[in-house]
Amino acid sequence: MAKQPPAQFTNPETPGYVGFANLPNQVHRKSVKKGFEFTLMVVGESGLGKSTLINSLFLTDLYPERIIPGAAEKIERTVQIEASTVEIEERGVKLRLTVVDTPGYGDAINCRDCFKTIISYIDEQFERYLHDESGLNRRHIVDNRVHCCFYFISPFGHGLKPLDVEFMKAIHNKVNIVPVIAKADTLTLKERERLKKRILDEIEQHGIKIYHLPDAESDEDEDFKEQTKLLKVSIPFCVVGSNQLIEAKGKKVRGRLYPWGVVEVENPEHNDFLKLRTMLITHMQDLQEVTQDLHYENFRSERLKRGGRKIEDEEVNKDQILQEKEAELRRMQEMIARMQAQMQIQMQGGEGDSSAVHGHHV
């Protein structure tokens, strides 16, 4: 271990202090300067409160000029992919958040092809990253890979619908799925528990892999461990979104005003909004890591394997083509020889018929 010359970080009280303990701070400062990138995809039928929830989570209005199409227009529409990017800054930390919306999902009468568009989008982002990574200029790779997918489950049903199951099975190996139950103010507390349990059972039954929060490390403090445990138990989160300020109990809160009471968005007794937000913020880094280490690597190995196989196929074909061409050549040579023989016989003999009979029989 080479001793670094004492820089301004030398702590005179501890001789032998090298100073690389300061590395995390340097990394931290660099990343703060660089800023964070995060791509969040939201999928769910229209009218489940996706846009409202996203606006509530990030305290912004991501969809200012939104026009909601009527049912007749929806009949013709296919699933679209719409990405909007916002730059949020808080206490010097910059976050470049991209929200990928999927309008049209689940609207059609026949939703058979609903998720093809979405899966191609996710694959495209992986493909682009792979390409950039294998390229020459790797300094400014933009990471547009989808780090997390909020899948919205309808609170009106009795659990997962066939479409939910099919979709989640199709993307659970490509992206981190976080199931969310929005418009949770439709449900009483008992109904919520029942629905959560039903959904978890069905997820297990169908072998769907949703994102699992990592257990807290043993060296974290008790509060964090407790918080992580609480979060793990509450999945899927039942949330209510709103950006309207309502007067309740003397103070202004974000919520929804009903004739029978006020639902407060940030009240943990009313819904799991705070839990969802905490989970997203504290595990943003982990979500990115899992995307990089698991989903992207899966994609990469599949892709490269597939790429190799293609070349072998072509070689096999080449051999076949070669053989075929040789056979054809031989045939043509034989035909020419025959024709030459015939011509010779004709020139020599006067009777063409008999000599023709004596000619080669092919």
Binding site: N110, F156, G157, P162, T188, W260
Partner: protein, 350 residues
């Protein structure tokens, strides 16, 4: 005479059974005072009492169908409407039941009684509607069922030795449950209502309305009404069947302001202000089902049961059934249908 003895409820129910005179009272009806300015009294009005007695003896049928995606609260709402466990939720269906792969038709009948009046109520449920990934033509089994009931009735009517009182299994009313997305109707809703509004009385209902605030509710209702109008969907009460001006004004108000009814259903009772009421208890308040400030359940109930029940049956019989009958007879060249199968065989042999 009769006015003093009649119970308010019986009067109300009875008034719906009488075809003429056509009074459409709000709830409840006050006893009618007999005009003593007449020169003499004949006694024609006693026919009302005679009919009432007769109907009370025979009772009457009402068949209501509920259509909508699973989980929209159809069974709960029907139970709440008739204040008894009449839907399949009570007859052994547990929440673990899987969504069926095709649309099934399940009809369950109950006899309920109120004030001496017996009603044979049949609730027709349609599990599996709109729940699949591919919902194309999922309304066909429903349309088929409705036409089958018309066919059954027609066959009985055309019979030489027919029953005095033909059992009426025709669907008098179809409650269509709209999901409270707050945005607009879904393509499936439009398709269903387009096809079925021509064969049955459809009453669109916004389910689980406790999801929306008052403004969202008003906006959504307006939007839905507009969409239905733009797409030419005539829901019950249909404009063309309004009989007189009085009907028209009353129905106009319902069509343009109240419908589609935004409802909440519940079969649990809670104590609120000293009274036991049906409702839903949440951490932020109790939603009272029968409170008009909370939801429009009471309006739906009054509409379907207390004021328009008889009209629903009449429109089904006089209009939808007659349309079916005319078409059927035309198809067969005026001959009564002997058996549908032999007719078809004839045709194919030609």
């Amino acid at each position: 005479m009769f006015k003093g003895s009649a119970d308010n409820k019986i009067e109300a129910a009875m008034s719906e059974l009488v075809p003429e005179p056509r009074q459409k009272p709000a709830v409840p009806m006050k006893p009618v005072g007999i005009n003593s300015n007449l020169l003499g009294y004949i006694g024609i009005d006693t026919i009302i009492e005679q009919m009432r007695k007769k109907t009370m003896k025979t009772g009457f049928d009402f068949n209501i169908m509920v259509v909508g995606q699973s989980g929209l609260g159809k069974s709960t709402l029907v139970n709440t409407l008739f204040k008894s466990q009449v839907s399949r939720k009570s007859s052994g269906w547990n929440r673990e039941e899987k969504i069926p792969k095709t649309v099934e038709i399940k009809a369950i009948g109950h006899v309920i009684e109120e004030g001496g009046v017996k009603m044979k109520l049949t609730v027709i449920d349609t599990p599996g509607f709109g729940d699949q990934i591919n919902n194309e033509n999922c309304w066909e089994p429903i349309e088929k069922y409705i036409n089958e009931q018309y066919e059954k009735f027609l066959k009985e009517e055309v019979n030489i030795a027919r029953k005095k009182r033909i059992p009426d299994t025709r669907v008098h009313c179809c409650l269509y449950f709209i999901s409270p997305t707050g945005h607009s109707l879904r393509p499936l809703d439009l398709e269903f209502m387009k096809h079925l509004s021509k064969v049955v009385n459809i009453i669109p209902v916004i389910a689980k309305a406790d999801t929306m605030t008052l403004e969202e509710k008003t906006e959504f209702k307006q939007r839905v009404r507009k969409e239905l109008e733009v797409n030419g969907i005539e829901f019950y009460p249909q404009k063309e069947f309004d009989e007189d001006l009085e009907d028209k004004t009353e129905n106009d108000k319902i069509r343009q302001e109240s419908m589609p009814f935004a409802v909440v259903g519940s079969d649990k009772e809670y104590q609120v202000n000293g009274k036991r009421i049906l409702g839903r208890k949440t951490p932020w308040g109790v939603i009272e089902v029968e409170n008009l400030n909370h939801c429009e359940f009471a309006l739906l109930r009054d509409f379907v049961i207390r004021t328009h029940l008889q009209d629903l049956k009449e429109v089904t019989h006089n209009i939808h059934y007659e349309t079916y009958r005319a078409k059927r007879l035309n198809d067969n060249g005026g001959l009564p249908p002997v058996t549908a199968e032999t007719e078809e065989n004839h045709e194919s042999n030609l």
